[in-house]
C-alpha cells in the first residue's frame, strides 16, 4: 500500500526561479573575443581582390599600398573595375604594347596630373596589378610594358600572403 502524501508537511512544489548557467558560454565568448581582437586590423582592406581571379600566394611580408587598380583575369583586363580589353585578343596580337590599355592608362595619368596641378595631390605613378595565378608570363610582360609606357612605372604585384 502506498503512503498518502502528508498534508501537513510542506512539499517543495515551486522550486523558485530557473537560472541558466552562463559560465561556459562566457568562456567561449571570451576566447572568441580575444581571437577577433587579435586579428583586428585598424587599416582595413586597402585592396579588394576581384572575385574573377585567384591571386598567387607568396611568402612576402610587405603590406599593400593604394594605387591604380589593374586587374588581369583569365578573360579580360580591367582598369579600376572597368573592362578594357579581352585577353584572347592580346595573345593573338604580336607587339609588346597593348594599345587599348595604353590609351586608358594615359587618360588616368592625365587626370591624375591635372589633380596634381589643381589640388596638390602628388602623382606617384603607382599601379597595383592583380593578376590571376594562371596567366602566362608573356601576358604579364605585355601588361607591365604598357604600364611603363603610360607613365605608371611603379608597379606592384598583388599576392596572397602565405600563412606560417
Amino acid at each position: 500500500m502506498a503512503f498518502i502524501p502528508s498534508r501537513i508537511k510542506k512539499h517543495d512544489t515551486n522550486p523558485g526561479k530557473v537560472r541558466l548557467n552562463l559560465t561556459s558560454m562566457m568562456d567561449m565568448f571570451t576566447i572568441i573575443l580575444v581571437f577577433l581582437l587579435k586579428t583586428y586590423s585598424t587599416q582595413g582592406l586597402l585592396i579588394h581582390p576581384s572575385d574573377k581571379l585567384t591571386l598567387p600566394s607568396s611568402s612576402i611580408e610587405k603590406s599593400p599600398e593604394v594605387g591604380l587598380d589593374l586587374i588581369v583575369s583569365k578573360k579580360s583586363i580591367a582598369v579600376n573595375h572597368e573592362e578594357v580589353e579581352q585577353v584572347s585578343d592580346i595573345l593573338n596580337h604580336d607587339g609588346l604594347i597593348i594599345d587599348e590599355l595604353l590609351n586608358k592608362l594615359q587618360i588616368y595619368a592625365r587626370e591624375a596630373k591635372r589633380m596634381e596641378e589643381q589640388y596638390g595631390t602628388k602623382f606617384s605613378g603607382k599601379v597595383t596589378i592583380q593578376a590571376d595565378k594562371e596567366i602566362p608570363y608573356k601576358l604579364l610582360i605585355k601588361v607591365m610594358a604598357t604600364c611603363g609606357q603610360a607613365e605608371y612605372p611603379n608597379m606592384r604585384l598583388v599576392v596572397y600572403k602565405k600563412e606560417g
Partner: protein, 179 residues
C-alpha cells in the same frame, strides 16, 4: 527580551551568483562588430624594380661592360629547369643545353635548390659588387604567373637552420629575347 533563534536547522546561505547579463550584452555587441570587420585573407604586394638602366635592351643585359663590374645576376625559368647567369660565373653544367638547376625528381621546378645556389652566389659576391641585392628574372612565354611568384620567393630569402637570410630582394623582370 530578544527572541532566541530557532533550533530548527536554519537554511544554508544560497550561492551568490554574479550578474552576467551586462557582460553578455557587451559580448553580443562586440563579437558581431569584430567579426564583420575581420580580415581573413592577408594581402601582400611585391614591389617591382625597373631594370638598372632604363631602356636597356637585351644585348646590354646579357653582355655587361667589363669596366662596370656588376654582378648582373639573372635567372631564366624554363620548362626544363632554371638557368642562372651572372658576371662571376655562368652557372651551367658542361653541356650548354642542360639547365643549371634541373627539375626535381617529381618533375617540378626545384625552388629549394635554386635558393641554395643563389645563397652560394650571394656569399661569393657580397663584397665585390655594388648590385648584390638585384636580380633579373625572365621566363618562357607560357610560364604561369604563380611559378614566377614562387621563383621570386625563392630568390628573395632563404631559411637555413631556422634563420632567414636575405638573398636578392630587388627583382626586375625581363622580356628577354622571346618576343
Amino acid at each position: 527580551m530578544a527572541f532566541k533563534p530557532s533550533e530548527r536547522s536554519s537554511r544554508t546561505a544560497e550561492d551568490v551568483e554574479l550578474n552576467m547579463t551586462p557582460v553578455m550584452n557587451l559580448m553580443v555587441v562586440l563579437i558581431p562588430l569584430l567579426l564583420s570587420s575581420a580580415v581573413f585573407v592577408k594581402i601582400g604586394v611585391i614591389d617591382l624594380n625597373l631594370p638598372p638602366a632604363v631602356g636597356a635592351n637585351v644585348s646590354q643585359l646579357e653582355a655587361p661592360k667589363e669596366s662596370e663590374k656588376k654582378l648582373d645576376l639573372a635567372v631564366s625559368i624554363t620548362d626544363n629547369g632554371f638557368y642562372i647567369s651572372s658576371s662571376i660565373e655562368i652557372v651551367r653544367t658542361a653541356d650548354r643545353s642542360t639547365p643549371s638547376i634541373p627539375l626535381a625528381n617529381d618533375g617540378s621546378l626545384n625552388y629549394s635548390a635554386l635558393s641554395e645556389k643563389l645563397y652560394e652566389i650571394k656569399q661569393k659576391a657580397l663584397d665585390q659588387f655594388p648590385d648584390v641585392d638585384r636580380i633579373v628574372i625572365q621566363a618562357e612565354p607560357d610560364i604561369h604567373y604563380q611559378v614566377l611568384v614562387n621563383t621570386m620567393d625563392a630568390a628573395r630569402e632563404i631559411t637555413i637552420d631556422s634563420q632567414k637570410f636575405v638573398l636578392f630582394p630587388e627583382v626586375s623582370l625581363a622580356a628577354g629575347v622571346i618576343f
